[in-house]
Symmetry: C2
Subunit: 294 residues, 2 copies
């Protein structure tokens, strides 16, 4: 039997695309919110002995946890052979340590809750800072795919004479990876502290061709503070208005306003989070990985 792909809003289009690539059936659900705030959910496609894939991107995660549980657990109760949870964007990965006494370490708590809901988890470019592998965080097999190749392809196909730029030296390896696949040069910003009130920011590689089109690349655009600051610095260093490319486009708060104010002349993200800038389709990579997966 063909696999069955269900989606929680707003991942319907991602699920459509994924089902197409997997030659899977798109499962139908009925989702209703009562006036008292409770959610009701009904699976309209039979799950009996089928492989079920549930797609739920976890922007604004708190209100999604219970509907997600209703969906995955009901699929299990109704006989699904396996439930594979796809969270194209996975939330709560940043709080990976008790920075101050008493703080909740939300990455582990969230991962433990998700682990109860499915047999495996698939995501893209999870923010793993102090966690060596996403598998250490989940009680189920978890797979962290990298959208870099899809970003590289998009840049190679759409930007004339690109120069890839990362916001800081930490981003060097990732930016280099995207740049090499795109066949483009790259640099990152370097901060040098010359005293309490004297921080100089320069291009790590001073010899780059400043007539090229700068392409800022990052894993995530959330409030866009980093991206906007980097765009401003580039222009003060004499480069052109940059294009911004990222895996996850959250655009929290006034992010778009900040990017426009900083002169970013084009914004493109992958479709892990839907929206008007989600031009880069990562479902081909995901379908391949799911097909190859155990």
């Amino acid at each position: 039997m063909r696999p069955l792909v269900f989606a929680l809003p707003p991942s319907e289009r991602f699920a459509d695309a994924l089902a197409g690539k997997l030659d899977a059936e798109r499962g139908k659900i009925e989702l209703h919110r009562f006036p008292d705030g409770e959610t009701s959910l009904r699976l309209l496609t039979d799950c009996q002995e089928r492989e079920v894939i549930v797609v739920a991107t976890l922007i604004d995660p708190d209100p999604k946890l219970l509907p997600l549980a209703l969906l995955t657990q009901t699929a299990r109760e109704l006989g699904a052979a396996r439930v594979r949870l796809v969270t194209p964007y996975l939330a709560y990965m940043r709080q990976d340590k008790r920075f101050r006494p008493g703080e909740a370490v939300s990455n582990r708590i969230f991962a433990r809750m998700l682990s109860e809901l499915a047999d495996e988890l698939w995501t893209f470019d999870a923010h793993l800072h102090r966690v060596a592998s996403i598998d250490d965080l989940f009680d189920i097999p978890a797979h962290n795919l990298h959208a870099a190749p899809a970003l590289s392809d998009w840049i190679a196909n759409n930007i004339d004479r690109p120069l890839l730029v990362g916001p800081d030296e930490e981003s060097q390896q990732w930016v280099q990876d995207v740049a090499e696949r795109a066949g483009a040069p790259f640099t990152v910003l370097r901060k040098e502290r010359h005293g309490d009130y004297d921080v100089r920011i320069t291009l790590a590689d001073p010899n780059v061709d400043r007539t090229r089109q700068p392409v800022l690349v990052d894993d995530i655009i959330s409030t866009a503070r980093t991206m906007a600051e980097t765009a401003n610095i580039l222009q003060s260093l004499g480069l052109r208005a940059p294009v911004a490319v990222a895996v996850h486009g959250l655009f929290a708060g006034d992010a778009l306003h900040a990017l426009r104010k900083a002169g970013v002349n084009r914004i493109v993200t992958s479709n892990t989070v839907p929206g008007p800038f989600a031009e880069i389709d990562v479902t081909p990579m995901l379908a391949e990985a799911l097909d190859a997966g155990p």
Copy 2:
């Protein structure tokens, strides 16, 4: 050491009152919502080897589940001897059956998730229709307290010559219980079907004193459709404008408007859900039960 009572919004005042009755310390938390919708939580009071009580009324439940997990799990990680979860109002108890194929049976799924978060659960007047005991639903000891005595006391102390009225014959036992403790007479509405288009509604006890003050009692006011309909019928049967008394005042959607339109002249609920009508304090009953509990 004295027990420690934490609260999730909007249960702060309930927790204050409970802590007072238990001679417990009110634990402090810092709760923050990031622009991307993630929650951060910090316990500002030390939990080490202490008995921790977490109060979280579960109106609008979906967005509360993760903050609740952050609170209870962090208390455990930081050495709480025991975590007792108090949900004065417990959501998701109505969907207790797969009414139509494919429906999520949310009462069990929700109860299972809550069972992961604490060592025991305490609530008031959970809506248990097809579930014999709340203990059957949870994997941890669960206690369903009844606010009826507090409602009876309030009615006896505040309403002159009351006549208690239940909305239907199903409510008979509960209404009778509240009435007897209040030392007041009671009746319920009876529907008699005389054909497809002929339903007659009467007072089950035709001999009640119609000059008394009708007091509609119910376990919950959600959208208030039942309560408003009952109020209308009573007045068409020649009774006075009723007072409405309930355990849980959710007032979903336009409930207040519907009650006022139906001529309800006073609304009073317990404080399981906070709000302007939450006059009846159930924390004395709860404190006694927690003290007596295992």
